[in-house]
């Protein structure tokens, strides 16, 4: 095996931050290489250096033995380095074939497009990746998993010898993940060199051959075989200590007074007859498959969607929530969105502006006057408590890492002193350390009396945190289980409730 790509002593600094220092990486032909590290460890920066987005301040890179100094992303693509980004990079209304060959079509903008040929060529890639889709279908009609595969086809069609995949399984179901892995293994056997970035260590152990771990912008290990490394070894390399798995005992908070009660609630977007209650200091989990109407229920509680029947009670009294502003201002309900970038945060505004939003009105003096100092005084303790890593409170949230962004969206509701907090998929795209931290925080909040509604598709997370688990399917509540922290019994119980619904529907 020879090294097809090599990076040696890469240094990349930004004002105030050294993103990479003395980082090295060697990729061999026909292997799958895991690139691991916590959020902010420098993985994205390294990928951007490799793909010509950033130029390194020091260090050298070689590709197939020759010096490699990409001037821009085009250059990197031309030299055979392709990336499948975490964010979708497809044009929704264009067809599958047009998306795959976008770069090629852009090279000769005035030539008439030979669609039959385009579709034939696309077919070849689709067949190879076993994508069951017509090349003429607009991408927007595909499932998320297939979009992911189309992106891989796009990268491969550019003759990529090195293919980097940034969290490719983040939005895939276990079955789709298996299919993807089959394809990745085949690509590896065909001699492609793959770089796999993921937070899911089980997957890394399943599919990768070698591993490079970054910690605080340096190599914690460099291109070593994965064989013989256990999960805890990898975790130790990533965070510098072992993973702590919380062993919280089951609790019963149903004796305390109910803070939020829904009885027979139907909504304008299709929920029918929802019963749900959360008591003081209780964590109620809502489990369900994608499309079960969980986030939508959260937004109905918040007043974004209309409640058409039934009662919503807060603190034992009928709540009159007509808008999100009512829910936040009058009833102190907070919502941490699963879609941080779209719904949770204002990326072009600063940390301070983001954390302060829900309390501006509350803090404002007569005439609506409000200074930065006021907001800072109220929010800074929470930003510090959550250990948000930012050079200053004036930094734009868009420049923070995913984990820190999530901390900002949680800090916002702590500062607002929410009595009811709805947390939607809190650990999407979050590293192990931050995830463990968030779990502790959620538990701590409930101990302090906050009523929490936890929406998550992450079964271990659900079983670690929730006191009771409500199972939803098709915008209805299928049943409720008291969580006794026994993983096997709980997951079987949950899946049983979901399958009951499917059985009765069939």
């Amino acid at each position: 095996m020879r090294g097809v790509f090599n990076a040696q002593g890469v240094l990349k600094t930004f004002p105030g931050v050294t993103a990479l220092e003395d980082v090295s990486l060697t990729l061999t032909q026909g292997s799958i290489h895991a690139l691991l590290g916590e959020n902010g460890a420098g993985k994205s920066t390294l990928i951007k250096v490799m793909t010509g987005v950033y130029r390194p301040d020091a260090g050298s890179m070689t590709l197939a033995g020759a010096a490699y100094e990409p001037q821009n992303t085009h250059d990197a693509i031309a030299k055979g380095i392709g990336v499948v980004h975490q964010e979708r990079n497809l044009i929704p209304r264009f067809s599958v074939a047009e998306n795959i060959f976008l770069e090629l079509m852009a090279d000769q903008p005035l030539r008439r497009i030979d669609y039959p040929k385009l579709y034939r060529d696309a077919r070849r890639w689709l067949d190879m990746l076993e994508i069951d889709a017509d090349p003429a279908t607009p991408v927007e009609r595909l499932s998320v998993a297939r979009m992911q595969l189309v992106e891989i086809a796009k990268a491969l069609s550019l003759n990529s010898q090195i293919l980097m995949l940034d969290e490719p399984t983040a939005s895939l179901t276990p079955h789709e993940t298996d299919t993807l892995f089959g394809i990745l293994r085949r690509l590896r056997d065909d001699g492609v060199s793959l770089v796999f970035v993921s937070h899911k260590l089980e997957e890394v152990q399943e599919i990768c051959d070698s591993v490079t771990v970054l910690r605080d912008g340096r190599n914690a290990c460099e291109s070593r075989p994965l064989e013989g490394l256990g999960r805890q070894d990898i975790v130790r390399l990533m965070i510098g200590r072992s993973e702590m798995i919380p062993d919280w005992s089951a609790r019963d908070r149903t004796g305390d007074r109910p803070v939020l009660e829904l009885s027979g609630v139907s909504t304008g977007i299709g929920h029918s007859n929802i019963d749900l209650s959360i008591h003081k200091g209780e964590i109620v989990g809502v489990y369900g498959l994608v499309g079960a109407g969980r986030s939508e229920l959260a937004k109905a509680i918040l007043g974004k969607f209309e409640v058409t029947a039934g009662d919503v009670m807060v603190d034992g009294r009928r709540a009159d929530i007509r808008s999100v502003a009512d829910a936040v201002g009058r009833y102190r309900i907070g919502y941490v969105s699963e879609d941080r970038k779209g719904e949770g945060l204002i990326l072009i505004h600063s940390v301070l502006e983001n954390v302060g939003i829900p309390i501006w009105r509350r803090l404002a003096k007569l005439g609506g006057f409000l200074t930065k100092g006021h907001v800072r005084k109220q929010t800074e303790p929470y930003i510090r408590k959550l250990e948000v890593r930012t050079p200053s409170l004036e930094q734009n949230v868009g420049n923070l890492s995913g984990g820190n962004q999530q901390k900002v969206s949680v800090a916002k509701w702590l500062a607002a002193e929410a009595k009811i907090l709805i947390v939607d998929e809190p650990s999407i795209g979050i590293d192990i350390k931050t995830k463990a931290y968030l779990h502790e925080l959620i538990r701590e909040l409930s101990d302090a009396g906050t009523a929490l509604l936890l929406i998550t598709s992450d079964m271990p997370e659900m079983i670690a945190l929730a006191d009771r688990i409500v199972v939803m399917s098709d915008y209805r509540v299928m049943g409720e289980i008291v969580n006794n922290r026994d993983y096997r019994a709980m997951s079987e119980g949950i899946m049983g409730l979901i399958q009951d619904n499917e059985a009765s529907a069939a």
Partner: protein
């Protein structure tokens, strides 16, 4: 060093504050406002060298008075751009407000203060119509204000029968012609006063912050408890009031309310309306404004126009130069932002 700076990063701004100050200084020198100040100084030197009349009292007075109106028009557009929208009806609203104010003075002999407030109330009402239709229909403000531009102007022409109101209160016309210390127009002081109030709105009030948040990301703003629809409607009302002020300033300057004072459909205002905010660094996608930048941008444009006129450059060339200026400024701004982005300074 690296390790220590990273560990202390959670200690917000203690050990890094010095470094951050350097960055902040660098950021100021790379800011739009600083660039505009440099341009204003450079062009002032060029014009005064080429044409000594540029620094005459009369010329400076006229420059101040014209820029007062142009800056106000820029503000009127700015407060809608910050919602991520546009207001093509600024001119139509401005003229309609001015005509209403003029009518109040001529038909009822109202003193100028209540008449001006009447004019501004008309501006607010027309802005509110824009805002309400936009948030209720969910259509882009471009379409809505394109329609209301014609509607407002058409109704105004119908009601006034395209006649001017020339019986303007003499105090008001006097105000428009007044010279403080022989050079400063009180209109410019009004504009500076409004600029200070707008800065205060965005820096010191919850409403101003809500406007910016709703403009930057309406979904996130709503889920954080901001009444986004109401906030956006208020932005349009504010735009109407500011357009009304600009219209009333023109009435004070000319001593008459004339339906054609901003051209057909009020379109003559569109170029100054966009030039100021865009040169000033207002983000067209919403959520970020610079009051000072808009002020400087509009001032620069007015100065260029009057300087070129003094140098007896043909009027059609002035339009060309302004277009070129806009394009150059936007390209320089792009390069500046790329640089900041690359170095993660923004």
């Amino acid at each position: 060093m690296i390790a220590s700076s990273r560990d202390s990063a959670s200690d917000i701004g203690d050990t890094q504050s010095e470094q951050f100050r350097t960055v902040a200084l660098l950021r100021f020198f790379l800011s739009n406002e600083f660039g505009l100040i440099v341009l204003v100084v450079i062009f002032a030197i060029i014009f005064s060298t080429l044409s000594p009349a540029f620094l005459s009292k009369f010329s400076l007075y006229a420059l101040g008075r014209t820029s007062a109106v142009n800056i106000m028009i820029g503000f009127s557009m700015m407060v809608v751009i910050l919602t991520g929208g546009l207001n093509l009806s600024v001119g139509a609203i401005g003229v309609s407000s001015a005509m209403f104010g003029g009518w109040l003075m001529q038909a009822f002999g109202l003193p100028w203060v209540p008449a001006v407030f009447g004019g501004l109330a008309m501006g607010a009402a027309l802005g509110a119509i824009n805002g309400i239709v936009i948030v209720q229909s969910g259509l882009h403000s471009f379409i809505i204000t394109l329609a209301t531009m014609s509607i407002f102007f058409g109704v105004m022409i119908f009601l006034t029968q395209a006649d001017s109101y020339r019986e303007i209160s003499p105090e008001f016309a006097g105000f428009g012609r007044m010279k403080i210390q022989g050079v400063v127009s009180p209109l410019l002081l009004v504009t500076i006063g409004v600029a200070v109030l707008l800065s205060g709105l965005f820096r010191l009030t919850s409403l101003g912050r809500e406007m910016l948040a709703a403009g930057a990301n309406p979904q996130a703003a709503e889920l954080s408890g901001i009444r986004v629809n109401r906030t956006i409607t208020l932005c349009h009302m504010l735009s109407g009031v500011l357009a009304g002020i600009a219209g009333m300033m023109l009435v004070a300057r000319t001593g008459a309310a004339i339906p054609s004072m901003a051209g057909q459909l009020g379109q003559d205002w569109l170029l100054p309306a966009f030039l100021g905010p865009v040169l000033g660094g207002t983000l067209l996608t919403g959520g970020r404004v610079s009051v000072l930048g808009t002020l400087l941008g509009s001032f620069l444009v007015t100065m260029l126009t009057s300087g070129l006129l003094l140098m007896q450059v043909g009027a059609f060339w002035i339009q060309t130069y302004l277009g070129l200026l806009l394009l150059t400024a936007v390209l320089i701004d792009l390069a500046r932002r790329r640089y900041l982005q690359r170095r993660k300074l923004v």
